[in-house]
Structure formats: C-alpha cells, structure tokens
Amino acid sequence: MIALGMLPMAGRTWPEIFDLLVPALWQTLQMVGIVFVISLVIGLPLAVIVHNTSPSGLFPRAAVHRTLSVIINILRSIPFLILMAAVIPFSRFIMGTALGVAGAIVPLSLASIPLFARLIETSLREVHTPLLDAGLAASGTRWQVIRRVQLPEALPGIVGNVTIATVGIVEFTAVAGAVGAGGLGYLALSYGYSRFDGNMMLACVVVLVVIAQITQFSGDRLSRALAK
C-alpha cells in the first residue's frame, strides 16, 4: 500500500531518468566491484584462519579462533545503517572523505568482510576430515593441504556462498546511498522517495533487481560447473 502511495503519476520523463541512471549505475557497480575485491582478499584468508584455528581445523589455536570469531560476530551484529554512521570519522581518516563512492568503501568493506569470512568458513567446514587426512598422509604440510585439498574441495561451495555475499553488497550499497554514497540507492531515495518520482523509483528497483539476478545466476552457473 505504501509502495503504491509512493508511485504517483508525476515524475521525470524516461530519457531524463536514463541520463541520471547511467552514472548512478556506474557508481553502484564501482562500489560493488571494489568492495567485492577487498572482501575476497581479506575475507578469504580470514576464513581460512578462523576455520583452521578451530578445534577441528588443521592448526587448532583456541585463543586465536575465539578472538577472531568474536570480532566477526560484533561486526556482523551491527545494523549496516548504524555501522555506516559510526565509522564516518574512521572513513574520513582512511579515505580523506566520508562522501561519495570513496567514502562508502570503508563502511561497506567493514560490513562485507565479516559476511564473506563467515560464509567462506561455512564452506570450508563442509570438507570432510578424511580428505584432509588423505592430504597429510600424501606427505603434505598443513599449508599444502589447505592449498591443494581444503580450498579446491570447498571451491564450489565458496563460489555459491560468495555469490550470496555479493548480492548482500549490492543491498549495502543501496543503504549507503541514503548517507551520501551516491549510486542507485541514492537515486532511488532522493528522487524516487523524497520527490515522489514513481518512475525513478521503479527504474532503480528494476536495475537493482537485475544486478542481483545476474550476480546470482552467474554465481550458480559457476558453482555448478566447478562441482564434479
């Protein structure tokens, strides 16, 4: 009902919407792309460490496991909108600004890295212990077993879970748009919501849905192709 109320007839023409939409889409894709890379580069090793320091891991270290686990849980439990506002000073310190795409990278990464780490950790946990034993018995060191057995065997699951997390980043960027990050979220909120432009809202929603669908579809295909 509320949605219908937000979609009155008045609004920009489609060519005008198109002109605003293209740069916003580009900003969103930039944010998703950069945050995806950062999350993978930090989240993957983090997941490997968290999982393998657990009692069932390859080098159990209870203290390390618990500490990292608690940090991840804390970051995961803060709602993104609040996290975003809370880290503005930190963001300004690291990136020199708290606005635009650059300003959004820090909060987006802080929200996304723990999500990646947890989901990848779940996939690593699904690799059965006998396979790791087989890797060790095949004269592998523990690092070799991680690289040649644990990660490759978990790969289809990792791809599936990373896909879910990536759709999560798209969602975070939309929220970030509300606090000055730009992109499709900004467009949807400032034109569609605040200025009651129903067409603009519709266009943004459609584009966001398409991005999420494409991501999910490609991720699923890749995951299936990797599983034997």
């Binding site: 095949a138 004269s139 060191t141 523990r142």
Partner: protein, 337 residues
C-alpha cells in the same frame, strides 16, 4: 619395517582424560602383512593414526626402519610420511580431481617434477588395472575402482610401508578379494610391509602373516595367523574362525572339533568311528588352508562323553569341545572402529 615403542595416547585433560592407547609395543617386519584386529573402541584407528604420523602420541615413539619418526616438526613429519602409504576406508579421493590427478597429489606435495608426476601416475593406474578410467572423476567410479585409485595414490611416493585402515570394509566379496590379491602381489613385487586395520576375520585369514588383537587400548594377544588358528587355547585363534550355527543333532552330544596341529590325518573321522565303535554323524564344517596348513573345525555328533572322545582325538592333533545349544552366534564386533 615399522615399530612402536611404549606408545600411549590420552585424549582430553583432567577428569575428561581418556586413555585410548596404553603401552603399545609393535614390531612389523619388512615385507610381512600384519593385521590389527579388535572391537570398535579398541584403539585400532588411533594406533593407525599414530603409525602414519597423522597424530602425535602422548608418549612413546614410532620408528621407521629403526629411526624415530614421531615428535618432529610439521615439515619433517610430512617428509617422514613419504615412507608410508595410507589407504583409507571408503573413498578419500578428492572429488574435483580425476583418478590420474588424485594419484598425482602426493607427488605434487613432495615436489616431484610435473612430467614425472603424470608418467608415474599413469604407470600406477596401469598397475591397478585402471588405465581406461584415468580421466574419470571419483563420482564416476565404483567403490572397488575408487579403492584401487586410493591404492595407486598410496604408492605414488614409492613407500616401503603400506597402512590400510579398514580398506576393504564395505566392498562386496568379489571386489574385496581382488583388492586383497592386489595387495599380495604388491607385497611380492615391491617388498612392501603391509599393516591392515580390519575387523573382517576372513580378510585376516586370507592375507595376514601375523595378527595383533587389541582391546581397550591394549594389545591382548598376537602371533602368526597359522599358529593362532591351530592353537585351540587361543581366544584370538577362535575369533578368527567362529563356528557357524549348524543343524541340530538327533539327541546325541554334539562337539566342535578344531584342527590343532598341522599333521592331522585326513581319515580321522573313520579312525574315530573305528576306535569308539560308534557311528559319527557329520553336522557341519569349515576348513581352509592358511599358510599351507589346514585349519578350521568340524562339527560332529557322537554318543560319547568328552573325556573318552578327547582321548581318541588329542593324539590325532584335534581338540574337541562340547557344543552349547546356540554356539556359533557370537562373533567379533562387526563395525568399523
């Protein structure tokens, strides 16, 4: 040759401490096949994990060819493991690698040049008769084929010791004997020392030179397979050959007669009938040749008490025992440890 010296393993600490292995001293000779048997929870698998250096014992040590191999660093342990090939229960193959790539895994770990890896892996697959399936993924292979790939992989670094942990469990009888034939051939060709962890007593009779019986983390009996089977006082010998239920005797006492010597005359039943002056009814038997000796048991019915029956049979190298009504239904635990 592989040896353990006063090996003990404790899991947990304080009041949760649980002693899994106590003072295990084991010496497995070069080119011999030793079976480790025992009920589940006896510590067989833990012993196996200590022997292939997957686990550090709480105390004691593992020696490979007389050199201490336990208690080393990660890297040094990985190096020592090259001397031991392990075959696991069920499929421990990597799902995302082909049969050939699975066999190459140990060589990649050990840093064998890529060209040699492929060549040697192909030769090993040929040895286990799987050349045609080299590019198949584990999911496309039968249980027996997967186990053959597992054997080829275990041999990839030319180990002199092969450890098989319940390697034939879950395979059908034909597949199982083909795997056992393969292990026997490998021993003959390469002088492999083979340690088999198993609960399948027919596997032990078929392949093992020596048997070690474990219970509650300790070795309770050991010996040559043939000797144990012919020793009527050995509980391990009995467990190796458990009489099956046979037809009921028609009102006369029933006895299990075990072969207790390698010189039992083949016409012993006729001799018994003649000396006792009584008919002997034949009720069932299971007799096999192990190590070139006849072992097993025959169930007979004869209207005679135990004393006079033994007086006739003992000199013939046979040990008679009265049969309880439902004897033969007990057997060694049938599940994997």
């Amino acid at each position: 040759m592989i040896e353990t010296r006063s090996l003990s393993q404790v899991f947990g600490v304080g009041e949760h401490a649980h002693q899994v292995l106590t003072d295990i001293n084991l010496f497995v000779e070069r080119a011999s096949i030793t079976a480790i048997v025992g009920p589940s929870g006896a510590g067989k698998s833990t012993l196996a994990r200590c022997m292939n250096l997957l686990q550090q014992p709480t105390s004691g040590e593992v020696l490979l060819d007389g050199v201490v191999a336990s208690g080393l660093s990660d890297r040094a342990t990985a190096r020592q493991r090259r001397a031991i090939g392990t075959i696991f229960q069920g499929s421990s193959l990597l799902r995302r690698r082909t049969a050939l790539q699975n066999v190459m895994l140990p060589m990649q770990m050990a840093g064998v040049p890529a060209a040699v890896q492929r060549e040697r892996a192909a030769a090993l697959l040929d040895r286990v008769h799987l050349t045609a399936r080299a590019n198949a993924y584990p999911a496309q292979l039968s249980g027996g084929q997967q186990q053959r790939v597992g054997i080829a992989r275990a041999l990839a670094l030319e180990p002199h010791i092969l450890l098989a942990d319940e390697a034939t469990t879950g395979l059908d009888p034909n597949t199982r004997s083909s795997i056992l034939d393969l292990l026997r051939e490998l021993r003959a060709e390469m002088g492999l020392t083979i340690v088999m962890i198993t609960h399948e007593m027919d596997v032990v009779r078929e392949i093992a030179d020596h048997v070690v019986m474990m219970a509650q983390g300790q070795i309770i009996e050991r010996g040559g397979t043939g000797d144990l089977l012919l020793n009527p006082d050995s509980s391990l010998g009995r467990e190796l050959f458990v009489p099956r239920q046979v037809g009921a005797s028609a009102g006369i006492p029933s006895y299990t007669v075990r072969y207790a010597s390698s010189n039992v005359p083949s016409d012993w039943m006729a001799r018994l009938a003649e000396r006792a002056g009584l008919p002997v009814s034949f009720q069932g038997a299971s007799v096999e040749e192990v190590d070139g000796r006849t072992v097993g048991y025959v169930v007979i019915g004869i209207d005679l008490t135990l004393e006079p029956l033994r007086a006739v049979l003992d000199p013939l190298g046979l040990r008679a025992e009265p049969r309880a009504p439902h004897e033969g239904t007990t057997h060694v635990d049938g599940s994997a440890a």
